[in-house]
């Protein structure tokens, strides 16, 4: 109010009024909060993550390998363990789905947490420095992406031998590329903008220009890519495990679906239904949340 009163004399020095600008993130947050679908999807993901964490800590659904009924018992209400029936050995399909959730969520998280930063660093360095560094990095990821993704995944998982580590490595090796491509493009766009030149004239180091100045301006791509990588890692794990190259001796969704392909002819549908439904909801939640995030973070819409 004081500034309005003092405006009687326009030239009089006014008290500095603190104007708090809204960043891209503030706007995005406001928009996301209004988006009820996005909130629901976020809650679904949090729910899956909680289930996975509780299963990991051994608080729920343990042990999954206990025999809880006859072989191929149909789903029944009552005992929680029989909600989704039993598998060939009489183990609870519901517990297996929960442990599948644990595996899927950890594969998604580990892959995204490692692959996205790797992609950011490679893409940023290539785009920022240009020259031979750029050429080498671009050659490297063009080579990797010239091998059809599924072939590369299969080849890496196969050569490393079966198991969850092979899955992690093959997924990380293939999924940093998308992020690197986007980051390289953005860094090329940003590196000659005025704010970067200004930082340069103030003596900012390359490191600080890349990570302190440019990176925050392109960080919304990282969030979007994170959710994309999370989904594709979950899907790829299921396919690799289904092909017998993935998780061994643990109830991953892919292993369950692999078992189910022989059970269907006997009318045993619950193992397949359990695994695919569980996978469906988490992928759906990520897809919708990803779309909402993209809309919310789009600087063109305000």
């Amino acid at each position: 109010m004081s500034s309005i009163h003092s405006a009687v004399s326009p030239l009089a020095p006014t008290q500095p009024v603190e104007i708090k600008g809204k960043s891209l993130w503030d706007h995005a947050w406001i928009r996301l909060k209004r988006d009820r679908m996005a909130i629901i999807c976020f809650s679904i993901i949090v729910f899956y993550a909680t289930v996975a964490l509780l299963a990991k800590m051994g608080l729920i659904a343990t042990p999954w390998s206990d025999v809880v009924g006859a072989s191929y018992q149909a789903p029944s209400s009552g005992d929680m363990r029989l909600w989704l029936g039993t598998d060939i050995f009489g183990r609870s399909v519901f517990y297996k789905v929960i442990h599948g959730t644990r595996i899927a969520m950890s594969v998604g998280l580990v892959t995204a947490v490692i692959a996205v930063p790797v992609g950011v660093v490679f893409g940023a360095v290539a785009g920022y420095f240009g020259g031979w560094i750029d050429e080498v990095i671009v050659w490297f990821y063009t080579t990797l992406s010239s091998i059809p993704n599924i072939m590369l995944l299969l080849a890496i998982a196969y050569s490393l031998g079966k198991g969850i580590t092979a899955i992690y490595i093959s997924l990380i090796a293939t999924s940093w590329i998308g992020m690197a491509r986007i980051m390289r493009g953005e860094f090329i766009k940003h590196k000659n903008r005025e704010y970067v030149i200004a930082a340069d004239s103030l003596g900012a180091s390359n490191f600080s220009k890349i990570f302190k100045h440019i990176l925050p301006n392109v960080s919304h791509f990282i969030i979007l890519n994170f959710s994309i990588q999370f989904i594709s890692a979950i899907k790829a794990e299921v396919i690799l495990s289904f092909l017998g190259l993935g998780v061994q001796g643990e109830p991953s969704w892919g292993v369950m679906i692999d078992d189910a392909k022989l059970e269907l002819a006997r009318g045993v549908w619950w193992q397949l239904a359990g695994a695919t439904t569980a996978m469906f909801f988490v992928v759906l939640a990520f897809n919708i949340l990803g779309d909402s995030l993209r809309d919310a973070l789009d600087p063109k819409i305000k």
């Binding site: 080579t143 072939m151 899907k235 289904f242 969704w253 679906i257 695919t276 469906f280």
Partner: protein, 311 residues
């Protein structure tokens, strides 16, 4: 045009070399002794030695790499360990079945997706648009294995509409066996494509020339079908062409499930049999096809979009 083509092919040599290097390192170094992987745990020393000699694994690594490059250039990958067939013949025989599934399924998907994309982007924001968008996101969230297994179970096994799996090289036989996998393929991919084409069309409707056309007082259908549609042919055609190189790969899981003896099935069988020479050849060949497909894409792209000039 010829110069452009030659330049693109020469330019892809480092990438082809890179692919060969990656595949070689993966299978001959990272994977451990290839001979041991092929024969399994219960082999005699003599068997291992025989395999080493047949596949040249007794030679130094750089000689092996050199031989492998020679294999790529001559398209002569030796014989499969599991079936003793010549691998180059296996690949050539696999392309036909793969394409006879992939091409019709791809065409139908594209026509369907472009049409739906057109309708919903014309009615953008209306109920039909929002419902389709929701349906698409639900569709692409259903796991592909779910589509395949439930499709096979319900349509073939329960309702007896189609054979469960198999393949016949005669044309009528192909149709009989390929309809169901083609339907599953279409269901699997139409959601992605509709989303893509809808976005491309909507992006075009936010361009300046559309505002100008509206300001001129042109009718909405005229703006949409005359101006927008013509301009959005570029992203549409680009996307179609970009997907063509992938068709040669077929659909791994679909082929394997429906017993179609294509590239995908051969690869998955090879993985189950630890048939290293075949996996290696498949990884190499599909990558090469993919690289050349991309070069062709660039060529066609320059023909479609007048803004892109041959460099």
């Amino acid at each position: 045009m010829f110069v452009f083509l030659v330049r693109r092919i020469v330019g892809s040599i480092p990438v082809i070399f890179g692919v060969a290097l990656v595949v070689f390192v993966l299978f001959n170094i990272v994977g451990g002794d290839p001979a041991l992987q092929m024969v399994g745990k219960h082999a005699t020393a003599q068997q291992i030695a025989d395999i080493r000699r047949e596949y040249g694994l007794d030679q130094p690594l750089f000689v092996q790499f050199f031989n492998y490059l020679k294999e790529i250039l001559t398209f002569e990958f030796g014989r499969s360990y599991a079936t003793r067939q010549k691998i180059s013949d296996m690949i050539l025989n696999g392309i036909g079945p793969s394409l006879s599934l992939a091409v019709p399924a791809f065409l139908v998907t594209t026509v369907l997706a472009v049409s739906i994309g057109l309708v919903v982007s014309y009615f953008r924001g209306k109920l039909i648009d929002r419902a389709t968008v929701l349906l698409c996101v639900v569709g692409i969230s259903i796991p592909s294995l779910g589509y395949i297994l439930f499709g096979q179970y319900i349509l073939a096994y329960k309702m007896n509409l189609f054979p469960i799996s198999g393949f016949d090289y005669s044309w009528s036989g192909r149709i009989e066996y390929l309809v169901l996998p083609a339907i599953v393929w279409i269901l699997l991919s139409v959601g992605y494509d509709v989303r893509f084409y809808r976005t491309a069309l909507l992006e075009e409707t936010s361009q300046d020339y559309v505002r100008t056309a509206r300001a001129k007082g042109l009718s909405e259908p005229r703006i949409f079908f005359k101006h927008v549609l013509k301009n959005s042919m570029v992203p549409i055609v680009t996307n179609v062409i970009l997907e063509i190189p992938l068709l040669i790969l077929g659909a791994f899981l679909l082929e394997s499930f429906f017993g179609i003896p294509g590239i995908g099935s051969i690869t998955i069988d090879a993985i189950h049999n630890s048939d290293l020479p075949v996996i290696k050849a498949m990884a190499t060949m599909t990558s090469l096809l993919y690289i050349f497909g991309n070069i062709m894409t660039d060529v066609v792209y320059t023909l479609v979009d007048p803004r892109v000039k041959l460099k």
